[in-house]
């Protein structure tokens, strides 16, 4: 198809569309015949004048208006300025004819930008088209909103867009446009998408139409990246949808689902990935040819790299990538290098990549700059202390011939690598200076600032650095950046090498002085500062230095003049106390984040689409917080701290307070850091609808019943019935939920989401063993199995949010009857045993006691009710243990994670006359009684229905009377 399309691109003449406007065709043909640009301009100006006249005359028919607007559009596309006719174009939008409206909208999207004044005129027309019952009009309006995406439009129309998206009467092609329009608005103004829309939007991922599902998934992906909690329901949906697609092997268009990481879904994804990989590997020929398949393959490889660094898949991948980077296909080479860079950033060992080092270095010589760039990225990522020297050497070598476009980035990267992996301090100095000498023009200030910081902070570097830089400065051709470094370093450390051959003070001075003339003002300022330091260090050459200051005290540059005058005055003071203080050696720079990395990342910047991983260097992965360069021990500050703190001006080093100098040194110290950037726009915190705070009415009936039973109906209404079956073994619980559709039609997009209060997340965990079918036909049932395990005593029960589409979105939140007592097993004890243990446990804190009556009227306690309840709470009721036969005594064992077992004992003393109960629970662990007693009291208080009987809450006295006859053990 492609080739046939391509080959015919030139071969045919004008193809006619019968509805075309003849005037327009003629005009375009005229322009095509105008060979010279002047002729084209003449023709265009003539036409513009004509159209302007026509518009001025007014009373044009819709057809003519459309034709002229089309001509204007064509002129505009050719790149000419069209500054009139916008109003006529906007008027076309409110036309009744589709073709006119269409051109009107096209013109609007091309002519009007976000802040255009005419834009507020069209909002009402767009609203009218959005609510029109003609879907084609809806579509045009959606296109317009998606194209312009201004805040005003978003605020005024997002409600309508959302309505079109979720309305059951919307056609598929409207829905998908609405979804993407909403996405566009969200990207521009995140607050336009309201939090409460989340659930409804997620449910659309199950839409039968692939186009809708695809569009909605794009939308959900953007939303979920910013609000992972709120959209967590989408992960499961995406995974199950993906599975369906994979089974049918239509995976090309939906690869994007892989992006969403979710622990539960991971296994599933991994299986799918293996399958994709196998498919791709089985057909190596197709890998070369088929872009779509490669697209999925590379996305899959990136995900595998992201998910896991240890699986067998990794091995396959690195050998595969090794082949890719040698491919004859440029695209594949490019992508192979990119994926390998990602691998280098993630993998624990770089060995598999190092095998390919020579090929990667070879890619620096590729004739395509895109590939060269990727090769550079990869070399940067795969560098460590073992291969730093060859790689840096190779990069330096390549730098000489590199394109200008990537030189600055290369210099930065070389500088970072040199600093990071230097094992040999001399190597660091050599490379850095060579780098600057070679590519001086591309060296940003950060690089030489950093060199000075490091030399200043490392005592053993100073002599070597000073010697070297002096040699550079002595040379005839020396880059200005080197002069800057030379000025600074010699001023600070020149005295350390003054005894060496060829490094005497006068030679240092002459070297710097010879460069003074050819340098910019800022460099001269640095040299002048070095000279005042020389005055302090080398009194023997003071006259020559004074001469220079005198000469510069007449210069036209006010900054240099001020400096020279001040230095002159400072050097001429009768005693040199002040001079010595001011020119004291610079204190080491505070350890700080390398500005180089900030600089590099500034270049990468933030992309609008936040991916779960960053394809890039290791440090890009680490995020900006951890950028601080881990300096090699070799370069760690070895400076013995200066005993004497200079009285003043110490932090300014050689500064005597002149503005320029001050700036200079603070630049060095403070190397402008990358701002942390503006705060991300956050969406308003949305309510978690699955949480216990949003329980549906009527949840309690089934819950209370199931507290005492292992299976039964949790919830039922006209449309749905939720049944529960549960089995407890030790600390584990297996819960199976049954969902029956009682509605007269099938329900779709059936989704369940589990939630638990954050404080309990450690105490009770679960694993979802299966998902309910997303569509449940009428009268049928679907089920879901969940395994819970109790790691600690927990107090709050998990909740489940069930949502489905039956016309509109229906949703309910129910509390699952999973409570701590369910993990108990009844125990048998003899009377002796019971009391022995009871006494062993003793009172508080391992005891909890409560006295209470029935809640509400018409209800009472009686023996059978209490027996049933206590039994339901999984106590072994020990008959005949208590002397008072009315009392209940029970024992049980609670199973908790880690094989722990807690013994629990219960004593319940009823007073049927007063309708009061006293409940005492003791357990071998103090966390158990409070929780247990709370659920039991809540349940017991309900009592059993009876004839009307007035209930008066007991007073304290009544209570003590009532229990007066009971012997408390």
């Amino acid at each position: 198809m492609a080739t046939s399309a391509a080959s015919n691109f030139l071969s045919r003449g004008t193809s006619g569309n019968n509805s075309n406007m003849r005037g327009l065709v003629q005009f375009i043909a005229d322009l095509r015949n105008a060979r010279a640009r002047e002729l084209e301009e003449k023709r265009i100006n003539k036409e513009l004048a004509n159209i302007r006249q026509k518009f001025k005359d007014g009373s044009l028919s819709g057809y003519h208006k459309k034709k002229y607007v089309c001509k204007l559009l064509y002129i505009y596309i050719l790149g000419w300025n069209v500054d009139f006719g916008h109003l006529e174009a906007v008027n076309l939008i409110s036309a009744n004819k589709y073709s006119e409206k269409q051109i009107g909208y096209l013109a609007m999207t091309l002519f009007l930008h976000e802040q255009h004044e005419l834009l507020h005129l069209v909002v009402n027309s767009i609203r009218k088209d959005l609510t029109d019952h003609n879907e084609l009009f809806n579509c045009l309006a959606l296109h317009a909103i998606a194209n312009v995406g201004s805040r005003e439009m978003g605020e005024a129309l997002s409600g309508e867009v959302h309505r079109l998206l979720i309305s059951p009467t919307s056609k598929s092609f409207v829905k998908k446009k609405a979804a993407l329009t909403l996405l566009r608005l969200y990207r521009k103004h995140p607050d336009i998408v309201q939090p409460q829309w989340a659930e409804r939007i997620i449910s659309l991922m199950d839409d039968a139409d692939m186009g809708v599902a695809l569009s909605v998934t794009s939308l959900v992906m953007a939303l979920a990246q910013d609000n992972p909690e709120q959209y967590k329901g989408s992960y499961v949906k995406a995974a199950s949808r993906m599975k369906r697609i994979l089974v049918d092997e239509e995976y090309a268009s939906d690869y994007l689902y892989y992006k969403v990481p979710y622990t539960h879904v991971r296994d599933l994804i991994r299986e799918s990935l293996q399958k994709i990989l196998n498919l791709a590997l089985e057909m190596p020929k197709n890998v070369q040819q088929n872009n779509a398949q490669n697209a999925v393959l590379f996305e899959a490889i990136n995900l595998i790299i992201h998910l896991d660094t240890e699986t067998a898949l990794m091995k396959q991948i690195s050998s595969r990538l090794g082949k890719f980077i040698q491919s004859r296909e440029t695209n594949v080479r490019y992508l192979g290098l990119e994926a390998m860079t990602h691998l280098a950033a993630r993998a624990e060992t770089l060995d598999p990549i190092k095998q390919h080092q020579s090929i990667i270095i070879g890619s620096l010589k590729d004739r395509d700059i895109s590939v060269r760039r990727k090769g550079l990225d990869l070399l940067y990522s795969m560098c460590d202390s073992t291969n730093a020297q060859p790689i840096v050497g190779e990069l330096l070598h390549y730098l000489q011939n590199a394109d200008f476009a990537i030189r600055e980035e290369m210099v930065l990267k070389i500088a970072i690598l040199t600093e990071k992996y230097a094992t040999d301090i001399q190597w660091y100095v050599d490379i850095s200076l060579r780098l600057i000498a070679m590519a001086g023009d591309h060296v940003s200030d950060e690089v030489w600032h950093r060199v000075i910081q490091i030399v200043t902070n490392n005592e053993q570097l100073q002599i070597y650095a000073a010697q070297n830089i002096l040699q550079y400065v002595k040379a005839d051709h020396c880059h200005e950046t080197l002069v800057k470094i030379g000025g600074y370093l010699l001023g600070e450390f020149g005295h350390l090498i003054a005894e060496d051959k060829g490094c005497s003070p006068i030679e240092q001075f002459l070297a710097l002085q010879s460069k003074l003339q050819g340098c910019s003002s800022s460099t001269r300022a640095i040299i002048l500062s070095s000279f005042i330091k020389f005055v302090n260090l080398f009194p023997e050459i003071k006259p020559r230095l004074m001469y220079v200051f005198q000469a510069y005290s007449h210069t036209l540059d006010s900054e240099l003049q001020q400096r020279a005058c001040e230095y002159l005055a400072l050097a001429s003071l009768p005693n040199d106390d002040l001079l010595r203080t001011v020119c004291d050696e610079m204190p080491p720079f505070p350890e700080r984040q390398s500005a180089l990395l900030s600089r590099l990342h500034q270049k990468h910047g933030k992309t609008s689409d936040k991916r779960t991983w960053v394809v890039g260097g290791k440090d890009a992965q680490a995020g900006e917080k951890d950028l601080s360069l881990a300096m090699n021990p070799g370069l760690k500050r070895a400076q013995s701290s200066n005993g004497i703190t200079p009285a003043n001006g110490a932090t300014n080093g050689g500064s005597n307070g002149t503005n320029g100098q001050h700036n200079g040194s603070s630049d060095l110290a403070g190397l402008d850091m990358l701002d942390s950037g503006p705060a991300e726009p956050k969406m308003l915190k949305a309510p978690n609808l699955a949480s216990a705070a949003h329980l549906s009415p009527d949840w309690e009936v089934g819950y209370n019943k199931l507290l005492l039973k292992a299976e039964g109906i949790l919830y039922e209404d006209g449309q749905i019935q939720v049944g529960v079956r549960s089995e407890y073994r030790g600390e584990m619980a297996c819960i199976i939920l049954y969902f029956s559709n009682k509605a007269p039609t099938a329900v779709s997009s059936f989704t369940t989401t589990l939630d638990l209060d954050a404080v309990e997340k450690e105490n009770l965990t679960w694993e979802v063993k299966g998902l309910p079918e997303s569509t449940i036909a009428q009268g049928l049932q679907s089920q879901q199995m969940i395994m819970f395990s109790a790691h600690n005593v927990f107090d709050k029960s998990p909740t489940i949010r069930i949502s489905y589409l039956a016309g509109a979105l229906q949703a309910l939140t129910l509390k699952l009857p999973i409570t701590i007592h369910k993990f108990m097993d009844p125990a048998e004890l003899t009377a002796d045993d019971f009391f022995k243990r009871w006494n062993q446990i003793g009172g508080a804190p391992r005891e909890e006691q409560r006295v209470f009556g029935v809640k509400g009227n018409d209800r009472e306690f009686n023996d059978s009710f209490i027996r049933k309840t206590v039994d339901g709470f999984r106590w072994g009721i020990l008959d005949g243990v208590d002397k008072n036969s009315k009392n209940f005594v029970g024992a049980s064992v609670l199973h908790i994670g880690g094989g722990r077992k807690f013994g629990c004992l219960l004593r319940l003393e009823p007073n049927y006359g007063k309708q009061m109960l006293r409940l005492t629970i003791r357990a071998t662990d103090e966390t158990v009684p409070p929780v247990l007693i709370k659920i039991m009291v809540d349940r017991l208080q309900i009592g059993q229905s009876t004839q009307p009987e007035e209930f008066i809450p007991p007073s304290q006295r009544e209570i003590s009377d009532a229990f007066g006859n009971v012997l408390v053990l």
Partner: protein
């Protein structure tokens, strides 16, 4: 994985179609078109289809802009079909091959509609080329990957237009 812009460029460097999926000022658009044209036209055959173009950085420097309207780090995915370059700007994290396939899908779609599409079709029926693109991509995202569906919508549009033209003609007569 949004595409930020799609530009159709003739070999002579003339823009045949430009569609922007992010909001940009006219100045920014002109600058991008100029830079991208230069980059792409300089490419030789058998080079890869991907190019780095730091759009935002360039714009910031060139136009002294405070705000970044473009995603900072972007790349270009382009492909040449006979005399036309199809150029898509996308984010650096995007899947290049998928972007390439989207471009290809657009070409196929036009091929299906015009029947052996050529540059002239796009010149003379530029509005149609825009309409087809609108059906394929919205907000820079793939909207419909089924060729049949897109074709159906576009044909429906044509039918409406034809009837409207017929009405016009009858009225004039």
């Amino acid at each position: 994985m949004p595409i930020n812009y799609l530009i159709l460029l003739s070999r002579q460097g003339k823009v045949r179609l430009a569609k922007w999926f992010t909001t940009l000022s006219p100045k920014e658009k002109a600058k991008i078109i100029k830079d991208v044209s230069q980059l792409v036209l300089a490419r030789r055959t058998r080079m890869c289809n991907f190019l780095e173009y730091k759009g935002a950085e360039v714009l910031k420097d060139a136009l002294k802009l405070e705000t970044n309207t473009l995603p900072l780090d972007s790349k270009i995915v382009y492909r040449r079909y006979a005399s036309l370059f199809f150029i898509a700007g996308c984010n650096s994290t995007d899947n290049e091959l998928i972007t390439l396939e989207i471009v290809h899908r657009y070409v196929e779609q036009m091929d299906k509609y015009y029947g052996n599409v050529c540059e002239l079709d796009i010149i003379f029926n530029f509005q149609k080329a825009y309409f087809i693109l609108d059906e394929l991509l919205l907000a820079g995202e793939m909207q419909e990957s089924s060729k049949k569906n897109v074709l159906r919508v576009i044909s429906a549009q044509d039918t409406i237009e034809d009837t409207e033209v017929d009405e016009e003609v009858t009225k004039i007569m």
